[in-house]
Amino acid sequence: MRSQFVITPAGIHFETPYAMNDDREHSQPRKLTMHKRTTKTTDGKRQLIFYTFETENPRLFKAGAGGGSSPAMDPPPPNPRLEKAGE
């Protein structure tokens, strides 16, 4: 399934409300929680790390531009150099 957002010169914007349901779980950007397990390569000589990931509860997310930001996520401060450029 293709994502429901479009790219414009000003950035990425969602075409549809960001109301998530299970059958669209993999269609929209969302936060992942990472887990890691450290072991050894098959020859037992070198460090090997397995990274696994969990998708956070999609109902924690809501509509809006910004690539699927969590509502709890503070927006980053603007870059003053780009503000001067009218960005």
């Binding site: 790390i49 910004g66 980053p76 603007p78």
Partner: protein
């Protein structure tokens, strides 16, 4: 044998790594050391039947945590030091035939999280001064294993290309009080001709000073020094931006585009680098579908790149190929 030899003529270190002559070279898929180990089949580097993202220490490293004693003695003219560092391999997917361009954007986010973790972990090693995350992709680049993967080199010094960027950035900051790459990004946005696309938090452009026909730089709009500075929205947005660029690359010649991907972050040597700006540089070596841009006499012997194309024209070509990223 491996060691670091000082080049007094250029003022930079060279790593020797003679064991790498023996490394696996383009094995058949059934004997790929980067695939998962299937029951009853060839034992690969990964001792489990599948994985998502894996990072392990390179079997044929040019830098080691516990390096051997150098094979030659140092002198006042020729300093020599052990090749201490870490070389890691990052596996993007268990699918041997996948490419990063073909993976969904959510897999890029997983890589960004793993890269961030490795940057943090390796920076804690006292002998590590710079962490270089990169990918050599395609036989045109000289890869020895086609399985989708990247690498991480944790150097015991700041590499010369990064040092030149730092020097230029510091000089600009001292002269203007501004960040050099913030100013370049602002100039590119104002001009617009070399912009490939923008997302909420990133800008992708083909630089005014591009050395390769399809060279593209991706920069965060916020003034960040490393992955450690990213918030969640920026991590997700970078995943989308990278995916968009690599899909556009594959559309240029209707085939999988070879490239070098180089992630430039601040050193981890304890010095302040507030004046520096995180960015990713992509260098595809093709100038036409079947023609490589070679690094010949001028580029290699004199350090002067000759680009056979105009950045403005190639940017327009790439811009027209950008499509929404698939998550």
């Amino acid at each position: 044998m491996s060691e670091l030899r000082w080049n007094p003529l250029l003022g930079e270190w060279l790593a020797t790594a003679t064991e790498r002559q023996e490394r696996t070279f383009l094995p058949p898929a059934d004997y790929c050391p980067l695939c998962p180990t299937k029951p009853g089949a060839f034992e690969t580097e990964v001792p489990e039947p599948t994985y998502d993202v894996v990072v392990f220490e390179n079997k044929f490293p040019s830098l080691r945590r516990d390096p051997p004693t150098p094979a030659v003695e140092a002198s006042d003219l020729y300093p020599v030091r052990p090749a201490q560092g870490v070389c890691e391999v990052v596996l993007y997917s268990p699918d041997h035939d996948a490419t990063l361009a073909g993976l969904p954007a959510r897999q890029y986010l997983k890589l960004i999280l793993a890269w961030t973790d490795r940057y943090k972990a390796l920076s804690a090693l006292d002998f590590v001064k710079y962490i270089f995350i990169f990918e050599n992709k395609g036989k045109e680049i000289g890869v020895t294993l086609s399985h989708p993967h990247g690498q991480i080199y944790a150097y015991p010094f700041v590499p010369p290309v990064i040092q030149r960027e730092l020097n230029q950035s510091l000089r600009h900051h001292e002269a203007t009080g501004e960040c050099l790459l913030c100013d370049i990004m602002q100039r590119e946005i104002e001009d617009g001709r070399r912009i490939i696309f923008q997302t909420d938090h990133f800008v992708a452009y083909l630089p005014f000073f591009a050395r390769w026909p399809y060279e593209v730089h991706i920069l965060p709009k916020r003034h960040l020094q490393s992955f450690l500075d990213f918030n969640e929205a920026e991590q997700i947005d970078l995943a989308l931006a990278m995916k968009q660029l690599l899909v556009a690359y594959d559309a240029v010649f209707h085939k999988s585009m070879p490239y070098m991907m180089n992630i430039h972050q601040a050193p981890v040597d304890g010095m302040p680098y507030d004046y520096y700006h995180f960015h990713i540089e992509f260098y595809p070596p093709l100038r036409q579908a079947d023609k490589l841009k070679y690094l010949a006499g001028s580029e290699t012997g004199a350090g002067v790149f000759i680009n056979d194309t105009l950045a403005e024209e190639k940017a327009a070509e790439l811009r027209n190929l950008v499509k929404p990223a698939e998550w």
